[in-house]
C-alpha cells in the first residue's frame, strides 16, 4: 500500500495504517535525529515527539513533498527545538560499537568492515551541521538536493554545495 493510501486511512483513525507509517519511516527519522543530536537517547525522544506532532497534523499534509521528507523535516525541527530548549549541545560520545551494530551490509558490495563504518560515522559527526545533514540525507535517505534544501532550510544549490563540501572534508578526515 502506498504512503498516500496509508495517510488517507490514518486520517480516519485506522490504527493499522498509522502503525505501518511509523514502521516505514522511523529509521529515516531516527538517522536524522541522531545526526543532529548525536545522542541516541535524545534522538529517540525527538523521533517520538516528531511522530506525535506529524500524526497530530496529518490533515495538514498536502502531499507536496513525499511523506518521508515531511516526517524528516518535522524531525529535524524537533531536534533543533530540543537544542533551543536545552541551550546546550551534548558532545558526541562516539560509541561506535553501538552505532554499527545495526549495519546492514550489501553482500554484493565490497565488504565494508565495522571499523571502517564506525570511523566514517565518527568523522561525519565532526562536520558542521548543514554539511552533516546534507551528507546523511543524500546518501542514507537518497533525497534529492531539492528535498534536502527543504529539510535543512536552504536552497537546492546550497544543499548541493553543503553535500560536496561535506564529502570533500570527510575524504580529508579519512585519509
Amino acid at each position: 500500500m502506498s504512503d498516500a493510501e496509508l495517510v488517507r486511512n490514518a486520517r480516519t483513525g485506522d490504527a493499522a495504517a498509522q502503525d505501518e507509517l511509523v514502521r516505514r519511516h522511523i529509521d529515516a527519522a531516527y538517522r536524522v535525529a541522531l545526526s543532529l543530536t548525536r545522542d541516541p537517547d535524545v534522538a529517540a525522544d525527538v523521533v517520538q515527539d516528531a511522530f506525535v506532532k506529524a500524526f497530530g497534523s496529518l490533515d495538514g499534509f498536502r502531499g507536496d513533498a513525499s511523506l518521508r521528507t515531511w516526517i524528516v523535516a518535522i524531525t529535524a525541527n524537533e531536534a533543533r527545538g530540543f537544542f533551543r530548549r536545552s541551550q546546550r549541545r551534548k558532545e558526541a560520545s562516539l560509541d561506535a560499537a553501538t552505532e554499527v551494530a545495526s549495519v546492514q551490509p550489501d553482500p554484493a558490495e565490497r565488504a565494508v568492515t565495522e571499523s571502517e563504518a564506525a570511523r566514517a560515522r565518527a568523522e561525519l559527526e565532526k562536520l558542521p551541521e548543514k554539511q552533516r545533514l546534507s551528507v546523511t540525507l543524500r546518501i542514507e535517505e537518497g533525497m534529492s538536493f531539492r528535498e534536502i534544501g527543504s529539510v535543512v532550510g536552504s536552497s537546492e544549490g546550497a544543499a548541493r554545495v553543503n553535500y560536496f563540501h561535506g564529502i570533500r572534508r570527510l575524504r580529508e578526515l579519512m585519509e
Partner: protein
C-alpha cells in the same frame, strides 16, 4: 562512446550505491570509476557511509506507535480488563477478601494478605477480572452494564410489561 565527467559521476554515486538507480545502462559510470582514482576513492567513501547507516533501536517503533495512537483508543479497554488496584479497592468494599494467602498479581502488589485465590476470578493472562472499572467504560458500555444490572435486579419480575 559517451564520456561523463567527474562531476556527473559524483552526483550519481549515492543513487548508484543505494541501488535507487539500476546498474544496467551505466557502463559510462563504471568505465569512469575504473579509470579515475579520485572518483573511485569517493565512491568507496559513499559506500562505507551507506553501509554504516544506523537503524532505529529495537523497541522505538513500538514506543512511537503507542505514543501516536489517539488517547481515546489508548484509554478505552474492555470493562473486564481491570487494573488490580481497582479490583482490590472494589473487592475490599464488597467484602470479597477473606483469609490471607498468596495470589498472583495481587501478591506482587503487596496484596497477598488481603486476598485468597479462590475468592476472585483470575483470567488466563493473570489479570484480575470480574468487577468493572467505571472510568474506563465508554458511554455505550455503561448503558449496557446498567441494563444488565437492572435486569438482574428486576430478574424475577419478567421485565417491563
Amino acid at each position: 562512446m559517451t564520456q561523463i565527467r567527474c562531476a556527473e559521476v559524483r552526483q550519481m554515486m549515492p543513487d548508484r550505491v543505494t541501488g535507487r538507480v539500476p546498474a544496467d545502462g551505466s557502463r559510462d559510470f563504471e568505465d569512469h570509476v575504473a579509470r579515475c582514482a579520485d572518483c573511485a576513492e569517493e565512491l568507496d567513501l559513499v559506500r562505507i557511509l551507506f553501509s554504516g547507516r544506523v537503524t532505529a533501536p529495537a523497541g522505538l517503533a513500538d514506543r512511537v506507535v503507542v505514543a501516536v495512537r489517539p488517547r481515546s483508543s489508548r484509554a478505552t479497554r474492555p470493562w473486564w480488563g481491570l487494573s488490580a488496584a481497582a479490583v482490590a479497592a472494589l473487592a475490599v468494599g464488597i467484602g470479597v477478601a477473606s483469609e490471607p494467602g498468596p495470589l498472583g498479581v495481587a501478591a506482587g502488589l503487596g496484596l497477598a494478605s488481603e486476598f485468597e485465590e479462590g475468592e476472585l476470578w483470575l483470567s488466563d493472562d493473570g489479570l484480575l477480572a470480574g468487577v468493572p472499572e467505571f472510568e474506563a467504560l465508554s458511554d455505550e458500555a455503561l448503558v449496557e452494564l446498567l441494563e444488565d444490572l437492572t435486569s438482574e435486579i428486576g430478574g424475577g419480575s419478567g421485565g417491563a410489561a
